[in-house]
């Protein structure tokens, strides 16, 4: 069980760094489109880190000691996305979420960004795993050949 928890924490640390990088990219792109002349202070550097940390909280909470089926993983991912949206929205917008028309547009933009980043994290992780799988398969073939030669 301890090994499972360690693996789960490692997974979430990796997710954290991917999220921070993607949030940085998202801020750069949306900033260039919406407010290209805006000047930001040093404090803005901490925002991606905070969002990264908030983004992994649902993942940390949703630890399961059981091996989940594909269906359970999908359900959990959807719940995790909803929870992530709620946490990040309450952090960035706070209680004034639907107070004005302008806020509403901002909320929608944040929701879309969070969803895009969430999906991007899954896709990036999948591609990293794909690379790992290719390496394992290659090593496995070498192992099989070695063992066959021994026999």
């Amino acid at each position: 069980m301890r090994d499972n928890i360690i693996e789960h924490i490692k997974d979430n640390i990796m997710n954290f760094f991917i999220i921070v990088t993607l949030v940085d990219v998202a801020i750069f792109i949306s900033g260039m489109i919406l407010a290209p002349d805006a000047k930001l202070g040093y404090d803005s550097y901490i925002l991606p880190v905070l969002i990264g940390f908030l983004g992994i909280i649902p993942g940390l909470i949703m630890y399961s000691k059981k091996e989940l089926t594909i269906k359970q993983v999908i359900i959990r991912n959807v719940l995790q996305l909803i929870l992530t949206e709620a946490i990040i929205l309450s952090f960035l917008v706070g209680p004034s979420i639907f107070s004005s028309e302008e806020n509403r547009a901002g909320v929608i933009a944040i929701c879309i960004s969070v969803a895009v980043i969430y999906i991007a994290v899954i896709v990036i992780r999948y591609f990293l795993d794909l690379k790992t799988a290719a390496r394992i398969t290659e090593a496995l073939k070498a192992y099989q050949e070695e063992e066959s030669n021994k026999a």
């Binding site: 997974d11 394992i136 090593a139 496995l140």
Partner: protein
């Protein structure tokens, strides 16, 4: 019980003989053990007992406290527990890939990612088995250690 070991000439075929008053469970267990060492495992299907060559086994799985041996097309029930198989077959390319599965690495065709940090092993008979998260790093380490 007295144990006798007699060296024989290289030209003769090696054999093991058991002297017993009657063939009981203990004797059967010794026979099973020797056969396992010799490269086959006992399994039953359709009420009949079979000797399954280890090289034919794709994976061994524990389901509801029962152990099953899977070959390319058949499934056999086994009397041994999964951890006993793990111990017995650890030198014969078998590796634990989840709490309930012991995999013959020689029967793996390829590995691909599944969701949630797990990996899927496609076997040479087209079947797929999951390497659970906990065992992924052990699996990687084992393979890379062996081919170093």
């Amino acid at each position: 019980m007295e144990i006798k070991i007699r060296k024989i000439d290289g030209s003769e075929q090696e054999y093991i003989e058991i002297g017993c008053h009657r063939e009981n469970e203990k004797v059967d267990e010794i026979v099973r053990f020797i056969r396992n060492l010799d490269g086959s495992i006992s399994g039953s299907t359709g009420g009949k007992q079979y000797e399954i060559p280890v090289s034919d086994i794709f994976y061994i799985e524990s389901v509801d406290n029962r152990t099953f041996i899977y070959t390319s097309n058949d499934t056999y029930a086994a009397s041994m527990k999964l951890y006993e198989f793990e111990d017995l077959l650890k030198m014969r390319s078998f590796l634990r890939i989840s709490k309930s599965t012991l995999l013959n690495l020689m029967k793996v065709d390829s590995v691909k990612p599944a969701l949630n940090g797990r990996f899927l092993c496609s076997l040479k008979n087209g079947e797929e088995v999951i390497i659970s998260r906990k065992y992924v790093s052990d699996f990687r380490e084992y393979i890379s250690r062996k081919v170093r």
